[in-house]
Symmetry: C2
Subunit: 407 residues, 2 copies
C-alpha cells in the first residue's frame, strides 16, 4: 500500500529524475509561449492513450506509432494550430517537426513524439516552428520555473496552467518514486478545437507493457471521467515517459505495480479535475458520483450522461437543486435501473428518496450549490459499483466563448 503521497509545491513535469524541458514563444498564438519541449536524458519507456475520434490529427497517428515502439526520448507540443484535416501535407509537416527535434538533439528520428492543439484545417507555419524548435532546444533546463512555463506553453483557451508533482512511497517498493505531470484543456473550443493534452513523467523503471496498462487504468478514472461538453477532440492524447533514472523499479504485475497504478491515478485525477474546473465559462467544479450500481460501466455511463446534460448543467449554473433533471438524465443513459429505489444527495442534502419528492432544506441546497466545488450523489441501491465523473456548469460565458469566436 502507499505509505506516503507528498505534493511538491511549484514543481511539475521535470520533477522526476532524468527530464529537462523548455517553453518558448514561436508565434502560433497571438500571445504567450506556444511551444513546449520535454526531453528525457535516457531512453524512457513510453505509453499513451489517444483520441477515439474517427477524425485524427497528424500528430495522433504519428505519436501512436512511436508509442508502439515502447521507447522514446522527447515530446514536442505546439499550441495554436492543431494540424488536423491538412491531408498529406499535414503528415509531412508533422514528420518534419519530429526530424528537426531529433537532428538538433542527436536522437534517432523515431524517438520524438509530437502533440498539437489549436485551429483545424490550417497548415503549420513551418518557418516559425523551425526557429521555435531552435530556441526550445537552447532553453532546455530543469529550473523551478520551467514547469510553469511549460504548462502555459501548451494552453489554448485555458485560463490557468495545470501541473503538479508528487513523490510517493509504498511498502512494496525498493525506493520512493517521483511523478510529474501537466495537462491542458477547457473543452473542445476556440480557436477552433481545443483538446485535452496530458503529459506525465516518472523516474521509475518499468516495462512498456506495464506502463501502458497503468496509463490505461489511470486514464479511465481520471481524464476519461472528465467531461466539459461531451465533445471529443481530433487531437486528444495522454503520454507518459518513465525515465528509469530513479531507484524505483516495477518489473511485474503484483502489489508493487498496483501501488504504482494507485499513485499514477492520484496524479491524473488531480490534473483531470483541473480541466473540469477550467471548463469554458465554468463557475464551479461538479463531481457526479453514481453508487449502488450493478456494474461500474453502467455507473460511469449514468454519471457521464448526467454530467453532459445541458439541462443539468444550466440548473447547476442557476444553483437550482433540480433533482428532476438529474433523474431525467439518468433515465436516458440506456442503463437498466429501478427508478423507484434512487436516492439523490446534493452535498449533505437528501433531495430525492426512493425516486420521489421529499421535504428538504431548499435554501440550504441552493446555498451549497453556489460553492466553487459541489458534489452530487445518486445511489441506485442496486449493487456495489461506483463511478465518479467531473464536469462544470454551463454559463453565459460558455455560449460567449464558443459563439463569438469566428474561424
Amino acid at each position: 500500500m502507499l505509505l506516503r503521497w507528498q505534493q511538491v509545491e511549484g514543481a511539475g513535469i521535470t520533477y522526476p529524475e532524468g527530464f529537462v524541458a523548455s517553453g518558448v514563444r514561436c508565434g502560433l498564438k497571438t500571445q504567450g509561449e506556444d511551444l513546449a519541449l520535454l526531453v528525457s536524458e535516457s531512453a524512457s519507456t513510453v505509453a499513451g492513450v489517444f483520441t477515439t475520434n474517427r477524425v485524427q490529427a497528424a500528430c495522433v497517428q504519428y505519436s501512436r506509432r512511436v508509442v508502439k515502439n515502447g521507447s522514446a526520448r522527447a515530446i514536442l507540443v505546439n499550441a495554436g494550430n492543431a494540424n488536423a484535416c491538412n491531408g498529406e501535407q499535414g503528415d509531412r509537416d508533422n514528420r518534419t517537426l519530429a526530424e528537426w527535434v531529433s537532428r538538433r538533439l542527436h536522437l534517432p528520428p523515431d524517438a520524438v513524439m509530437t502533440a498539437s492543439t489549436g485551429i483545424i484545417g490550417h497548415l503549420l507555419p513551418m518557418e516559425k516552428l523551425e526557429a521555435g524548435i531552435e530556441d526550445a532546444v537552447a532553453a532546455l533546463d530543469r529550473e523551478g520555473d520551467t514547469d510553469a512555463l511549460l504548462a502555459r506553453a501548451i494552453m489554448t483557451t485555458d485560463t490557468f496552467p495545470k501541473y503538479g508533482a508528487f513523490e510517493a512511497d509504498s511498502d512494496q517498493w525498493v525506493a520512493p518514486i517521483r511523478f510529474g505531470g501537466m495537462c491542458k484543456g477547457s473543452g473542445m473550443i476556440a480557436p477552433n478545437m481545443a483538446t485535452m493534452l496530458a503529459f506525465v513523467t516518472t523516474d521509475a523503471r518499468l516495462p512498456a507493457a506495464l506502463l501502458q496498462e497503468a496509463m490505461n487504468r489511470a486514464v479511465a478514472v481520471s481524464f476519461n471521467s472528465v467531461t466539459v461538453d461531451g465533445d471529443t477532440s481530433t487531437n486528444d492524447m495522454c503520454l507518459i515517459m518513465a525515465s528509469g533514472m530513479g531507484e524505483g523499479e516495477i518489473s511485474r504485475p503484483g502489489t508493487a505495480f498496483e501501488d504504482f497504478v494507485d499513485a499514477l491515478t492520484r496524479l491524473c485525477v488531480g490534473l483531470a479535475k483541473e480541466v473540469a474546473r477550467d471548463g469554458e465559462g465554468a463557475t464551479k467544479l461538479v463531481e457526479i458520483v453514481v453508487r449502488g450500481a450493478a456494474t461500474e460501466a453502467g455507473a460511469h455511463r449514468i454519471a457521464k450522461t448526467i454530467a453532459e446534460s445541458p439541462l443539468v448543467k444550466t440548473a447547476l449554473f442557476g444553483n437550482d437543486p433540480n433533482w428532476g433533471r438529474l433523474l431525467m438524465a439518468a433515465g436516458r443513459a440506456g442503463v437498466p435501473f429501478d427508478p423507484n429505489t434512487i436516492d439523490v444527495r446534493i452535498g449533505d442534502h437528501l433531495v430525492c428518496s426512493q425516486g420521489g419528492s421529499i421535504e428538504f432544506d431548499r435554501d440550504g441546497a441552493h446555498d451549497y450549490l453556489t460553492g466553487r466545488e459541489v458534489q452530487i450523489v445518486l445511489d441506485l441501491n442496486m449493487g456495489d459499483e461506483v463511478a465518479t465523473v467531473w464536469t462544470c456548469d454551463y454559463s453565459y460565458d460558455y455560449i460567449k466563448i464558443n459563439a463569438e469566436y469566428h474561424t
Copy 2:
C-alpha cells in the same frame, strides 16, 4: 402514390371527421389554457409511441396500457404539472383523471388516455383538475378556433402553438383521407421538465397493428429526428387516433398503406420541425443532412451527434461556418467512415472537400447562416443512405431560460 396533399389553413386536430375538442384553463400554469380534451365520437383505433427514458411518468405507463387495447375514445392533456416521480399517489391521481373523464362522457373507464407535461415531483392539484374537466367537457366543440386553443393549452415554454391539418389523396385509396395534429415541446425545460407531446388524428379506418406500424415509421423520421438538447423527457409521447368516420380505409399492408405512411410522415415532419424552430432560445431552425452513408442508422447517428454538439450549436448561433466542429462531432459519433472522403456543404457553399480545407466564400457562408432556416449537408461518399435531423442553435437565451428557472 400521393396525388394531393393540401394544407387547411387554421385547422388542426379536429379537422378529420369524428373528433371534438376543448381547451380550458384550470389553473395549473400561471396563465392561459392548461387543460385540453380530445374526444372521438366513435371508438377510434389508437397507436402510440412513448418515451424510452427509464424514469416514466404515471401517464406514460397508463396510456401505454390503453394503447395496447388498440381502441380508445378520448385524450386528456394537462400542462403545468408532469405528475412524474410522484409514486403510487401519482398513479392513483392519473387514474382518477381518466375516471372523471370517462364518467362525464359515459365512456368505458379504459377508453381515456392521459398525457401530462410540466413540473416534476409535485402532486397534481386534483380539485382544480376536477373543475377543469367539467369545464372541458362542457366546452367540447368543433369550431374553427378550437384547434388553436387546444394547441395553446398543451404548451409549457413553447412560444407559439403548433398544429396543422391536411387532406391527402392517393391513387391507391377509395377516398381522400384527412389528417390533423398538434404538438408541443421546446426542449426539456422549465418549469421543470418540458416534454415532447404530439397528438394526431385521422378519419381513415385501419386496424390497430397497421396504425401502430405507420406511427412508428412516421415518428422515426420526424419527432425522433428532432433534438434540441439531447435530453429525453420522462413524459414524451405521441398518440394517434383513427376515427374511421371518413370513407378512407386501409385494411392491409401494400401500396395504399405506404401512401398512408407517406401522408402521416409529412404531417409529423411538419410538426416536428416546429418543435426545433421553437427550441429554447433558438434563433434558427437547422437541418442536418448526412448522405452517402453505408447505413441509414449510421447516417442518423452522425446527424444526431452533430445536432447535439454544444460546439456546433454555439458556432451556429455565432453564424460561423466552422466545418472543423462538424467533422469533430461526426468523428465522435461511433460510426465508421473515412475522414478523407467527406464533403461538407453549408447551404450552397462547399466548405470542406475530401475531409480537408478548401477556399470558399467565408462572408457568403456567414451571411447564409444568419438566416432563420439553414441546412448543413455532410456527404460521406461511402454509400447511398441518408438521414435528416432537425435542431436549433444554442444562444444566451438557452442558458437564461434553463438557469434562471428555480424549482
